[in-house]
């Protein structure tokens, strides 16, 4: 079955450093991957989408890469700030649905 995995352990990063989160997928070749941010007690918010033919996508301090050989997407936040602390979810398409990772909690320490 299609599976998408994110590191379940929280990631602690010092403010100002680059945070890198990983998303791995198996048994599927998605046409694109999506990244979302979720704050406690709230619904996820869409951040970025990267297609399989795109190596890299940027939006302000965010950068996403897509490596179809490694079956992996990396999500980077540069110059991280405490306000970036949240859970980050990746997802890939499957017919009408999205297959979701469990999310990685990111904590940016001042």
């Amino acid at each position: 079955s299609q599976k998408i995995e994110q590191n379940s352990e929280a990631l602690n990063i010092q403010e100002g450093k680059t945070a890198t989160l990983t998303c791995n997928y198996t048994n599927y070749s998605p046409a694109y991957l999506q990244w979302y941010r979720q704050d406690p007690g709230r619904g996820p918010v869409f951040l970025l989408l990267i297609r399989e033919n795109e190596k890299e996508k940027r939006k302000e301090r965010l950068k996403v890469t897509f490596d179809t050989t490694l079956k992996q997407s990396l999500f980077h936040i540069t110059a991280s700030q405490p306000a970036d602390s949240a859970t980050y979810l990746c997802a890939h398409d499957s017919n009408y649905q999205l297959i979701w990772g469990a999310g990685t909690k990111l904590i940016i320490k001042p």
């Binding site: 999506q34 996820p44 989408l49 979701w100 469990a102």
Partner: protein, 113 residues
């Protein structure tokens, strides 16, 4: 801006009660989804709908039903609430012609006692 609203942020119900969760979106999206989210289990799809009066089961439909009589509204029904249905319920919508980028409501935290 896309807006997805859910009828309640917090809800407390008793075991055996019938529970209605309402979701409304204002962007004319064809697709609508109901998820539940529990600690350590991530987002799990209960039901989705790709058109009015159409519904498809997700990964965990047991104990739930849905209704989509109008394009903008998607209702989740718990016929007889049980304590194991205590959870955060999230509604989402997406445009059929896009990349299924989903827009979520604020969530309803349901507690069944």
């Amino acid at each position: 801006d896309v807006k997805v609203t859910q009828s309640s942020r917090y809800l407390v119900k008793r075991t055996g009660e019938k529970v209605f969760l309402e979701c409304v979106q204002d962007m004319d999206h064809e697709n609508m989804f109901w998820y539940r989210q529990d600690p350590g289990l991530g987002l799990r799809l209960i039901y989705f709908s790709y058109d009015v009066k159409m519904k498809e089961k997700g990964d965990i439909p047991e104990g739930y039903s849905v209704s989509r009589e109008k394009k903008e509204r998607f209702s989740l029904i718990l016929e007889s609430a049980s304590t194991n249905q205590t959870s955060m319920y999230l509604c989402a919508s997406s445009f059929a012609g896009g990349n299924n980028e989903q827009y979520f409501g604020p969530g309803t935290r349901l507690t069944v006692t």
